[in-house]
Amino acid sequence: MLNKIYDWIDERLDVTPIWRDIADHEVPEHVNPAHHFSAFVYCFGGLTFFVVVIQILSGMFLTMYYVPDIENAWESVRYLQTEVAHGQIVRGMHHWGASVVIVMIFLHTLRVFFQGAYKKPRELNWVVGVLLFFVILGLGFTGYLLPWDNKAFFATQVGLEIAESVPFIGTEIKTLLAGDPTIVGAQTLTRFFAIHVFFLPAVLFGLLAAHFIMIRRQGISGPL
């Protein structure tokens, strides 16, 4: 049945080459932990991606309950965590995922760095990787405010002061992020929400696509 449907679509759209292009490649011995256990270091990039997927999925479910305004944000998080079936798990996955993704991206960066895998021809992929790192940090910073609890509020206040200390354009950056040059309040929460769920994920997807296309074109770096 499934095969028939697949054939029907394939006959019209010729989709086979599209996925074959992704699927058909050899995994060299030196990156395969089944042959050399130490090759587990090559898993960190994939695990980072895995946690990113967890973040996207759990985040999508969080927005089914989360209310991005200062009256209700905290109550909605508390409600999700205490009243909603499995709400605690969903928020827990997103909360811990945010930390685990940092750990994984750190390990992945170290693997690439100490193997010198960023050298020609992979310079651009390294640059894209560091930009991904910044985006992930940005997601962590903006996400921290969203539960609108005391630690969120005060940490964001400090974070915005740091943004303000940028020479010349500090106040502008702060206003852009917070919606106001001095107040951390309703506008700030709304902006952080928008940045956290729309702006940064959009950049993240673009960068991830670039990262993976480059890996596929260049292949993994050879053994040392």
Partner: protein
């Protein structure tokens, strides 16, 4: 199309007709036991992913994510704390050379240099040799950076008073259902709420909760008028009638000693009145 199962896209410019190599270059550069990604290797990756997911879910199940009390800009004495992976940047600002009038060095200067160098690493370290021994400067700088990040994070985290912070956590907050129609609620709101919270739950750094108190009604009245510990005297101002209502409200709402004996909430007013006349 060679790979597809069906028709050719004749005259269609989107996909070239003719033999098209979809299989990328083979890995003869790395001779050895290569393995097809699909499906062999993917099946093993899937297993690693499953094990990772189980470990991750154990973490999630074992540690419910924290939530502190709702943001209150007026909380006095609250020490801001970012998420742990920002602690090293935060700690940097505590050094004299990166604080006060030099704060730009701590907020932009040092992090900017470090992350800028990270971004441009392939261009700063551009010789072809990939082995760590062939590029000692890059490797040493990275090791120094990693050690500093660990050190700063450790320093910052060990200076935090985690027990004090736990006071702000919702899970340590006492849950009370207050009866807002109780005669004493209004009295509570006017006299005590600003320090003990809108539902007797207490305010961290300010005053404790008023739940499961080891006092009887008379002692509560005494505390309201004369204070106790850090609580000053004369916090309650009002008539004796109101004082009785207040004590009864606190006893019933908080499930103190008297509440058990007295049974139902607000119609126990007479009994506390009786107590008062006995005094």
């Amino acid at each position: 199309m060679q790979k597809g199962k069906g028709m050719k896209f004749v005259g269609d410019s989107r996909i070239k007709v003719g033999p098209k190599q979809t299989i990328p270059k083979d890995y003869s550069e790395y001779p050895g036991r290569t393995e097809p990604f699909w499906p062999n290797f993917l099946l093993k990756e899937w297993l690693v992913g499953a094990v990772f997911l189980i470990g991750f879910l154990c973490l999630v199940a074992a540690h419910p994510s924290p939530l502190e009390i709702k943001a209150d800009p007026n909380t006095s004495g609250y020490i801001p704390l970012p998420d742990w992976y920002f602690l090293f940047l935060y700690e940097l600002l505590k050094y004299e050379f990166a604080a006060a009038e030099y704060v730009v060095i701590g907020t932009i200067g040092i992090p900017g240099l470090a992350f800028g160098a990270l971004l441009l690493a392939p261009f700063l370290d551009s010789k072809p040799g990939r082995r760590p021994t062939q590029r000692p400067i890059a490797v040493i700088l990275m090791l120094l950076a990693v050690v500093s990040v660990f050190w700063l994070t450790y320093e910052s985290a060990s200076a935090v008073n985690w027990e004090e912070r736990a006071e702000y956590s919702v899970s340590n907050m006492t849950e009370v259902e207050v009866d807002k129609d109780h005669a004493g609620y209004e009295v509570y709101a006017n006299n005590c709420m600003s320090c003990h919270g809108d539902s007797l739950q207490g305010v961290p750094g300010m005053a404790p909760d008023l739940v499961d108190l080891p006092y009887d009604a008379a002692a509560i009245k005494d505390i309201a008028q004369n204070g106790i510990g850090e609580m000053p005297a004369d916090m309650f101002t009002g008539s004796d009638e109101e004082l009785n209502q207040l004590a009864d409200f606190i006893m019933t709402a908080s499930g103190g000693e008297a509440a058990e004996g007295e049974g139902e909430g607000s119609d126990s007013e007479d009994s506390s009145e009786g107590e008062d006349s006995a005094e």
